[in-house]
């Protein structure tokens, strides 16, 4: 692993990265990322964004043969969507609900005076009917509510900016990031076949970029008492796999994850398969920022200097200005 980071960063400036915090510091110093004003929030440079978009295009190409319906979801979702996804019960520590002010004249004067005085004003706002998107595919299921899928199921390609409240100095753990997903809705065997097929496609796609990936069984970070019961259940039933690679240090993390939800969303949103049974769903999500970080860690901070094979796959031309923007 040390070999990987040495080689990658050696091409850029000869300095090896030893920790996620150091990697973060270099990304900020070089201007690839810009501090977003709170821990774990970042603005992206044109260079960073161009890599993200190249990865998106590569993933999209990998699913073209399935002619998925493509949707770009809003980063803000209805509370009913968040609730229906089951995310509130399972991960209340990660959600982001949105507050706004709805007070009368007197409350408004109080709010302004608190703001002017640098006091506590957030407590004067109240919850709205919207929240931040928890996962790209969560917006899909309510859209399909009370529908029956055709024979062979339906395949979607979706993307959204997602939010997880887990402030960290590790750039691999951004609070706001994009998930590019392929989702199947249909029968149970169809969902499993899709999951297996896309794990292989994901392995080929990310392995082809030379990321030194591994595919491992995984479980979600459920919250609170009962978390272990849910995690073990997920592992026992092999519902979740992650494609892992070093992202911000030698420690591997998930750059993509594949989930078989069984009938969780089908039951929650009244989705039926072609046989009239509760639909089963499966998805694979590519973490666009994480894959970008993994490439920068492995291959160096200047994409123009990346190996020709990788540049060709990502359509990064040598003519592109190598100066970081």
């Amino acid at each position: 692993m040390s070999n990987l980071t040495k080689r990658g960063l050696g091409e850029s400036d000869g300095r090896a990265i030893t920790s996620a915090e150091e990697f973060r510091s270099r990304l900020l110093t070089l201007g690839l990322l810009v501090d977003g004003g709170a821990i774990g929030l970042y603005h992206r440079s044109a260079t960073f964004e161009s890599i993200v978009r190249s990865i998106e295009a590569l993933a999209s190409k990998a699913g073209r043969d399935q002619s998925p319906r493509q949707l770009y979801f809003s980063p803000v979702i209805g509370l009913a969507t968040l609730l229906g996804s089951g995310y509130v019960s399972a991960f209340p520590n990660l959600i982001g609900t949105i507050n706004s002010f709805d007070g009368d004249g007197e409350a408004l004067r109080e709010l302004r005076s608190r703001v002017d005085a640098g006091g506590q004003w957030v407590e004067m706002t109240s919850p709205t009917e919207v929240a931040l998107c928890s996962a790209s595919c969560h917006s899909l299921y309510p859209m399909l509510a009370h529908t029956t899928q055709p024979e062979g199921g339906s395949i979607f390609e979706v993307q959204a900016s997602c939010f997880r409240h887990e402030p960290s100095l590790d750039p691999a753990r951004m609070q706001s990031f994009r998930q590019h997903e392929f989702v199947y809705v249909g029968t149970a065997p169809g969902a499993l076949e899709f999951r297996d097929q896309w794990l292989e496609r994901g392995r080929a796609l990310l392995g082809g970029l030379g990321l030194g990936i591994d595919v491992v069984p995984a479980s979600d970070p459920f919250f609170g008492r009962g978390a272990q019961l849910l995690s073990r259940g997920q592992l026992d039933k092999e519902l979740k796999f992650e494609i892992v690679a070093p992202i911000s240090s030698t420690q591997p993390g998930a750059v993509a994850s594949s989930n078989y939800h069984e009938d969780h969303f089908g039951a929650a949103f009244d989705l039926k398969d072609a046989n009239g049974q509760v639909a089963h769903t499966a998805c694979i999500g590519f973490g666009l920022e994480r894959i970008t970080l993994a490439l920068l860690l492995k291959l160096g901070f200047d994409p123009a200097l990346w190996p020709g094979g990788v540049r060709q796959q990502l359509d990064i031309s040598v003519e592109r200005p190598s100066a970081l923007s």
């Binding site: 089951g86 009962g226 272990q228 019961l229 849910l230 073990r232 259940g233 997920q234 039951a267």
Partner: protein, 89 residues
């Protein structure tokens, strides 16, 4: 039916979201096949802890523990919850 099994059944009715009422489920029936979801099993687990004033240790926090009325009863027995038989009608 034992009083413990009866309490487990009433908890399953309240929190398990089973496809059939628990009275029509045998002690050995697979609850997951009867519609108990992973998330519902957590609520069942928490309600059982409250009802019997116990805390399941890590090694019992598995799907196998919540597979059937019988497996839950056996787990509770291992935590010192005694089963007394009551007249069933």
């Amino acid at each position: 039916m034992s009083d413990v099994a009866a309490t487990i059944r009433s908890i399953l009715d309240a929190h398990g979201r089973l496809s059939t009422p628990s009275q029509r489920i045998k002690d050995s029936d697979d609850l997951f096949q009867r519609g108990l979801s992973s998330h519902a099993s957590v609520n069942v687990m928490l309600a059982i802890e409250d009802a019997f004033d116990v805390e399941f240790p890590d090694e019992l926090l598995t799907r196998a523990t919540f597979q059937s009325v019988e497996s839950i009863r056996i787990a509770l027995e291992s935590l010192g919850v005694a089963s007394t038989n009551v007249e069933s009608d």
